[in-house]
Amino acid sequence: MEARRASRTVSDPKVRHVGFFTPDPNPHPGRTPLASDAPVSNSLSPVMILPPRQPSDRTAAVPVPETGLRRQTGADQVPVGSYNPSESLLSSSPLPSSPSSRVGLVDGEFSEESGGWLRRSESGNYASSLPDTMVERAPENSASAAPRLESKKSVEVTGKGGKAVVEEQNEVQSSSKPLKAKTTKAERRALQEAQRAAKASGKEGNKSAAVSQGAAPVKPVKQPAQKKDGPPVSVSVVSFDKKGGDRPPEKERKKDVPAPRMQFDDKSRVQKAKKHAVVKQTEARNRVELFRHLPQYEHGTQLPDLESKFFQLDPVHPAIYKVGLQYLAGDISGGNARCIAMLQAFKEAIEDYSTPQEKTLARDLTAKISSYVSFFIECRPLSISMGNAIRFLKTRISDLPLTLSESEAKAALCSDIEHFINEKIILADKVIVRHAVTKIRDGDVLLTYGSSCVVEMILLYAHEMGKQFRVVVVDSRPKLEGQALLRRLVAKGLSCAYSHINALSYIMHEVTKVFLGAASVLSNGTVYSRVGTASVAMVANAFHVPVLICCEAYKFHERVQLDSICSNELGDPDAIAKVPGRTDVNYLNNWANKENLQLLNLMYDATPADYISMIVTDYGMIPPTSVPVIVREYRRDHVFL
């Protein structure tokens, strides 16, 4: 609003000033005549004016200590021909704060910030919105951290050990079984498989464990590290954290939160270096070169240990523990289910929480939540939707008024969590269903891929409304999630077809619409979803079939991602090596022993916005180009949800 009004001062109605240019706010009245003299050449001006601006920009960024001198040169450059005041803002603003901050190096920025924190630091605590910092700090500061560390060590030991470990696991498992209320068949099988895998990998485990032992002394600082934050953050944070950093939460948070996202690249690189020290999980050895930056563990090996510790006195709340194990075993999957399970576990944990002496609820609880989150991450990397939910919860905790008593605060948080689940997930799904159903017409052939609960709801609702349509469920190995969906749809009487993704191009010509779910939608419209979604969308696009993505707005994320390499999740490579129920297909039986064979089981992929016709969210139907607008709006009402 202000921006466009400001450009009124430009005398000639050049559209470029309306559409493409950041308008001239005219802070220096002396320069306005220059702008108003220009209109004749104004249409060319973007080209002509840009060159002088860039060098001045660059010189301003160079860290030179003499502030006064810099400012002078900055002023000198004004008449050279750049009328854009943003240039002068750039040149002058970084100077007062710190010359090094404009260098653009991560370290420089952080050193500056850490300095700020040091100055402010007084007590031993600070409420941080960075999950990482809290994670790293919690074991050191809180008294309860000691057993946790020990447990970690023990895991490491078990990781090293061969058969003895497995036996021990067996014992513990049998003892824990009667106590654990519901051990499903699948769970038991998972356990057995895990043990077998542990046995098989016992010898290799020796090696990798030895490597990890080498780095063991540093262990307390390092954490299993699939964090969103860049490692530089964590390192610097830890260093001054020991001196104790107390910082005003709101002001810092605004500055801090985007930073880790920016250095996503860095993170993966340094994480790789750190990886050797990761204790908890056994690293898979044969990994695809391109995906080295992603954590890949030997699946199943850690499950028995964790189960065995279920009843040990542990800082992790049992509800959290249970959900974590369910993630690990794969009992809970799907973005919404995982998110709801996590939030409900948090709710239980908050209900049982009591603030320790000499601590404030806001800070201690944030630390607690962060340690829980790190536990979840150990079990399975967070989905983006979970990250958003965690961010929401932490905001709520830090925004709690100090005057609230503990019970009131806890009640408020619990109702907030309930509210989030109801409003952002359950209600949102209903709204999406209502929107999407308007796009289903009689005679349609709808194609869906994998199993998305929202898409399922849409199909069922449309069927209830009496619309006549057919459904094609496309599925893929190894998860075969589509079969469960197919079963439920057929049971409700929908007319369905089932196919694997291999036959997609064959079946696509008769399809009229493609409905897909999404794990997340990123700021550039990229849809991050179950692997295979991108190929479905691309084939549909090639056949001129509209692709509709159904996704709740809480899964939107301001990150931008261009490929599915930099951030992804690696699944169990065994899953693609084996064919369940076919013992004769055993060509890859001992693939892990072969140095020259790597298996890649990706979990997600990124679909570029070009292949998407529409995104159906709880805010209505929007083109993929409008995701940033929703993210902006969403953040806003996030605050006063």
Binding site: K14, V18, R441
Partner: protein, 416 residues
């Protein structure tokens, strides 16, 4: 959205240049006292207006959509011959004569006495102004509703307004700009938290003020667009125009007044021959015009520098819904790398999201082939098509020159 209207373009022109350049805008603009005096100009022109403007029977002739009747009324070159033909084909509608009779007395009675006030009548009165778009007429009519309302609470007023806008919308369900205009008016006028803290009378006067402002901006929109688009018309360019759009005509008129040298290719615009009317108008302005039959678009496209079209509605994806044939012209232009510019006022922004051509309520129209068509032959009678955003280059609106993706941003900001 309107508080950021690019209307400053007009203000600057006023400051910069002499008034004579603004004849068009001043003629179309209503002096404010006319607005408040509740006496919309009574420009009765022809008999078919009465059938189209029948207040009690929204679609007097079910075979011809009201959308098309309005269009026909406004783009007068088509006139009554085909309408009479179509009507003869369908058979005389018993309500017509009766409606025509009741129409007049109602008009006289409506404005001052609040009891018998009828939005549709008000709307029709405004609509008879040849230069006023349907949506603007609706906006004016809704403003009149607030003025004539005898409500005593905000809630009551809002309900009354809602009812009025619903009846306006149902008057012609196929017109996108009418629906969008009503929706936007409701959003713009009623969405303000400040109203809750005031007493009713001042809140009401504030509403009226906003409504007037909205109406005025909508009125000025065409002029603003014409100003904004001038930078894109360069000397010696060839412009392909499809259909008759008052905005596009305004753009070209302004360009001609600015002494730009350009020529225009007009498509014929079958079946209502809207291109003929546009070529007439342009010939009056001494702009070199060439008339093409609709199928010659691809043939001439290599000579064309840019394509200018209007829009019935701008949808959320950033695409447009416009007269039949726009889509194929955009496709041809896209494949030959020619820019396609759309001139559309922002009150045409609609919360619609068609996925493909068949994803809209069809607006049907009669087509005269000159020879009798055997009954076994089916005729595609849809009056408009949907052009997806990837084939459009820029949209000239009164909010500024926008890329198609911005449309959705504006709509989200307004409706969320």
């Amino acid at each position: 959205m309107w508080w950021r209207s690019a209307s400053f373009i007009l203000d600057q022109r006023h400051l910069q240049e002499d008034p004579p350049n603004d004849i068009a805008s001043s003629s179309s603009k209503q002096p404010p006292d006319t607005l408040s005096s509740l006496s919309p100009p009574q420009t009765q022109n022809s008999t078919f207006m009465a059938t189209a403007a029948d207040p009690f029977n929204p679609i007097p002739n079910p075979k011809i959509s009201a959308y098309y009747q309005t269009r026909a009324a406004h783009t007068a070159v088509v006139t009554s011959d085909w309408l009479a033909q179509a009507q003869a084909a369908v058979g005389h509608h018993p309500d017509d004569a009766q409606a025509a009779q009741t129409h007049q007395p109602l008009l006289a009675a409506s404005p001052s006495s609040g009891k018998s006030f009828c939005v549709i009548n008000e709307f029709n009165n405004w609509r008879k102004q040849p230069d006023l778009a349907e949506a603007v007429a609706a906006i004016r009519a809704l403003a009149a509703v607030i003025r004539a309302s005898e409500a005593t609470t905000m809630m009551e007023l809002e309900i009354e307004l809602k009812k009025a806008s619903d009846s306006l919308k149902s008057w012609d369900t196929t017109s996108i700009s009418l629906t969008a205009g009503c929706d936007l008016f409701m959003r713009y006028v009623t969405r303000t938290s400040a109203l809750e803290y005031e007493d009713f009378n001042s809140a009401r006067s504030r509403l009226i003020e906003r409504a007037e402002k909205f109406g005025e901006i909508s009125c000025k929109a065409r002029r603003i667009i014409a100003m904004l688009s001038q930078d894109f018309i360069f000397d010696g360019c060839t412009i392909l125009v499809h259909g008759f759009s008052r905005v596009v005509l305004e753009v070209l008129k302004t360009a001609a007044q600015n002494k730009k040298l350009f020529r225009v290719f007009c498509t014929e615009g079958r079946p209502d021959r809207t291109g003929l009317r546009l070529s007439n108008e342009l010939a009056k302005l001494d702009v070199p015009v060439k008339l093409l039959i609709d199928s010659a678009v691809a043939y001439t496209m290599d000579e064309v520098d840019m394509v200018f079209v209007g829009a019935d509605g701008v949808v959320e994806s950033g695409g447009i819904i416009n007269m039949m044939g726009t889509y194929q012209i955009a496709l041809v232009a896209h494949s030959m790398n020619k820019p396609v510019y759309v001139a559309a006022e922002s009150y045409k922004f609609a919360r619609l999201y068609p996925l493909d051509q068949k994803d809209m309520a069809p607006a049907l129209r009669p087509i005269d082939f000159g020879v009798p068509i055997p009954s076994k032959v089916e005729v595609e009678r849809s009056a408009r098509d949907y052009t997806p955003p990837q084939y459009l280059t820029l949209l000239f609106t009164d909010l500024g020159v926008l890329t198609p993706s911005v449309v959705s941003d504006e709509l989200i900001q307004l409706y969320l």
